[in-house]
Symmetry: C2
Subunit: 548 residues, 2 copies
């Protein structure tokens, strides 16, 4: 057998490391620009130098191969420097979810064992609140960002710009095993403490390559190309902004980091910097559309991937009307994240606008290399009939194998050798997958399974409705019944019976089960629908409120 395996030395002479994504980007696109809020601009060449300076600065603070460096910042060029500099040293970049509660942030910092924490002034009060309970005893670096720093007793080891400014750009980034931990992020599940998800260098490089292959390969529309201008609108702490900054830098795109998200600022940057490619959650898009309408901004030609939550058809239509080339993407923290994209298929000629919207809002089609299946409880693949509902399970070369220090949750995640997404979906004949619900959000009523998302999509189309969330509530007779929380458009007086009437039309047309129509007293009008720290509808909270 000695000749069968190309020797280990051979295969690993060139491990898949994040630093290799930079090689050609820097040498071919050295003059390309990275900008922060349109206020600060520098070239890829300077970026690369600052990555070296950052490594020297962190090194001086004791960071070495195996250290953990936590970042608490809005989307900035400094964050992008950390995306590369920290893992390239062999340390782990911990992107702290700054929208969690101080207690949860405390838990994640201790669980990950942060050695250094880089802190934007906005998060100084959080650190003040939890500092004496930090068992990991980190050193702190301030990222002043030109802001006034609140009064604090935090013993900062220095300020980012001062440290980086004084350091040498020369740093010999080492080579090491491609399976070395590069980054970690904590996902907040429905129960228990946040769980740490790890990404190795290999994971990130392979995710970058498969995402690039998928994003770039369409003939036109819903694609990324080397002349796009990229601006993330999914926070950089959140699964590394879906890994797309790595794609953008590898391809040499002009990149705009928008800081803290404010609709007016984002729209200003979009126009001023000629941003052509972004990604965000539906809630942000909703806000952008409203702000753009108010300000009369032109959004045409903007390609936006929507993820995090399902893209409601009504929102998709509103975006298309504004000229946005919108489409959904699918993934989770545990999956890299991108495993599917709702790009329209080659040669696609839409039969109707409705059909096109359905495709764009769908879960999409898998990216190359992903073994993406919709299976029954026996793990057998279901027919592609657009009807048979099962769970999405996955294999791909960059999925998280386990949660950090959570063996039983990890085993559950990987039951039967496939990653279980908990998403219930159907597959259409053309290969497009459509999630119908989360496994735990499916409403079991009158012996039928009803999709909460399906009801939400139909209610959102009722004139006067701005947003809707549906959960199942216990019912003595039917097991469960759907309950809808509805936010009205400003000035609208839409009522429960209007909504029921519309839903009954869908029942008459056999597009909806009669069991899916909530009773009038199970349609509640609210001022706001609660969201999780990453902008998803917080159904856990809705259920809790309902129970309370």
């Amino acid at each position: 057998m000695e000749n069968l395996i190309v020797s280990a030395r051979s295969a690993y002479a060139y491990p898949l490391l994040i630093k290799q994504l930079l090689i050609n980007a820097m040498s071919l696109y050295g003059d390309q620009e990275i900008s922060y809020r349109g206020e600060l601009r520098y070239t890829y060449r300077e970026f690369r130098e600052r990555v070296g300076k950052l490594a020297n600065s962190l090194s001086a603070l004791g960071v070495h191969h195996g250290s953990t460096v936590a970042v608490m910042d809005w989307d900035s060029h400094r964050y992008l420097e950390c995306y590369f500099g920290v893992p390239m040293m062999g340390a782990t970049l911990f992107t702290v979810n700054v929208r969690l509660s101080p207690q949860q942030i405390l838990y994640t910092l201790n669980d990950a064992g942060a050695d250094v924490v880089l802190v934007h002034p906005d998060f100084v009060p959080v650190i003040d609140q939890i500092r004496d309970k930090l068992t990991c005893k980190p050193r702190f670096v301030l990222m002043a960002d030109g802001q006034t720093v609140p009064d604090t007793a935090i013993p900062f080891a220095g300020e980012y710009e001062a440290l980086v400014g004084a350091a040498s750009p020369e740093f010999e980034f080492p080579e090491f095993d491609e399976r070395t931990k590069a980054a970690t992020f904590y996902t907040t599940g429905t129960t228990g403490d946040p769980k740490g998800v790890c990404y190795s260098h290999r994971d990130i490089v392979l995710h970058t390559l498969t995402a690039t292959a998928s994003l770039c390969s369409p003939r036109e529309g819903q694609r990324m190309h080397r002349e796009d201008v990229y601006m993330p609108i999914t926070p950089m702490f959140h699964v590394m902004a879906w890994g797309i900054p790595y794609v953008a830098i590898t391809l040499g795109l002009r990149t705009v980091l928008p800081g803290r998200y404010a609709p007016e600022m984002l729209l200003k940057l979009r126009a001023q910097e000629k941003v052509s490619f972004s990604h965000c959650v539906p809630t942000i898009l909703q806000m952008l559309l409203h702000a753009a309408e108010a300000g009369g901004q032109d959004l045409s030609g903007w390609k936006i991937i929507i993820g995090g939550s399902a893209l409601p058809p009504s929102l998709c239509e509103a975006a298309l009307e504004r000229g946005i080339d919108i489409f959904a993407g699918y993934g989770m923290s545990e999956t890299g994240p991108i495993v599917a994209l709702a790009q329209l298929p080659p040669g696609y000629q839409p039969a109707s606008r409705e059909e096109e919207v359905r495709l764009r809002c769908s879960t999409g089609r898998p990216v190359p290399l992903a073994d993406f299946r919709v299976v029954g409880t026996d793990m057998r693949e279901l027919p592609r009939d657009g009807q048979s509902q099962g769970e999405i399970v996955l294999r791909a070369p960059y999925l998280t194998r386990s949660y950090f220090r959570k063996p039983s949750a990890s085993e559950e995640l990987w039951a039967d050798g496939y990653l279980h997404t908990q998403d219930v979906a159907v597959v259409h004949e053309n290969g497009f997958v459509q999630i119908v619900d989360r496994l735990k959000d499916v409403i079991k009523t009158g012996g039928e399974w009803v999709s909460s998302i399906e009801i939400e999509n139909l209610v959102t189309r009722v004139p006067g409705v701005r947003e809707c969330a549906v959960i199942g509530v216990p019912d003595a007779r039917w097991g469960e019944r759907p309950m809808a929380f509805v936010v009205r458009q400003p000035d609208s007086e839409v009522g429960a019976e209007d909504i029921r009437a519309e839903l009954m039309n869908h029942v008459s047309a056999q597009r909806l089960s009669k069991f899916a129509v909530p009773e009038a007293d199970r349609i509640a009008f609210v001022a706001e629908i609660p969201k999780t720290s990453v902008g998803k509808i917080d159904k856990k909270l809705l259920r809790g409120n309902k129970a309370a």
Copy 2:
């Protein structure tokens, strides 16, 4: 350190195997078409079934994990089935260079240890000639291809279509180490026996992904997209047709296999099948342009990568005039092969047609992940000044670490930890690399280094010249002097002094060293320039003829 490495089980839960390139291609593009010579057509779905049938057929012949299956065929759908089916079984696909001499083919079959040889009728006489000297004792399968089979005593174990037709499509392709040998090809160097180059599954998957990222990412022009129709015109035996069939199938492209290359057939297929993406060596393109001119065919919109030899500017111009979107690619058998592509840069506005042609004919810019350097003899990177000449050395995740059973040649290849290409190049400020010569083809004359390729390009532009090859010949006074072999256009009477006069113009304009102009008696007019088995100018033979 236990937390530093994401566990091996994790990273290799999903090894990079060729079978994973098929997963989504088959599930998303099942109706897509593969055609053979425009005569036979079937869908990706049927292709996948035949891959399973092939595996069962080979299995019945004793092929198992670690076996070597050799193929001697022209470009066919059967070859494409072998590209996938053989390595997916864990066996090694040996793509035999059918243009070698029978003695060399004998050497390579024995060296690789072929267990099974699949033989097209055209190569039955070759096998007849060498069969009794085959120490590897292979079994033979005929690929009849509807042709009359020459009289032979070869004890065929069966005929491809008959075997495949009778087999079951169900075959459980196993999972194994991604470093397992998937394919092998023999490269004919300048000295000694052909050398075996191996590609692992990991190599092929990573080459596919980086080539896809490079090929698909331009905004327009010199790019591949999902609606392209692909036809290879580099033989499938030759570094797996540059690995591009794997890219095409991964993206779900309609694919046309042209059989044996004949210009009229290729042009007929191009028109009939609406082929939009191909690749070939300059000699084939030359023939295609002549045949198209004769037949009045329209070639506009055809994207063609040129590799194997440098693309002469005059040929590039002729192709552009016919509407071909032509550009060079760079690599060698040892490099996967693609490590650079001469795609025009983002936002490129040519200053002149001449400059554009120079870029398209250049060696190009490196693909993602490739550490591509031009270095001096001390291995230091040279300045990007378009002047400093050095050798191209490489690292990339899919380079051949060693030649099969050739330790000393392997050590030479990988001196100083970089793969040595033996190509001498300059790097321009914009990152474009330009090969000026092969290390061994540079002419050392009058204390200067003169590029044989530079002289060839200028001579080829002289009216009446069709082709030119330049070598260095010993000279008592100057060390070496250039000697040019010239093929005239039909009916042309261009003479040595015409050529010298044109070259002297370039000397006057300081575009050429005076040492580069051959004496009149060192300009020889010949009927044909000898080519190697893969279509490159055979300078070894020219030197030999000259010496003789």
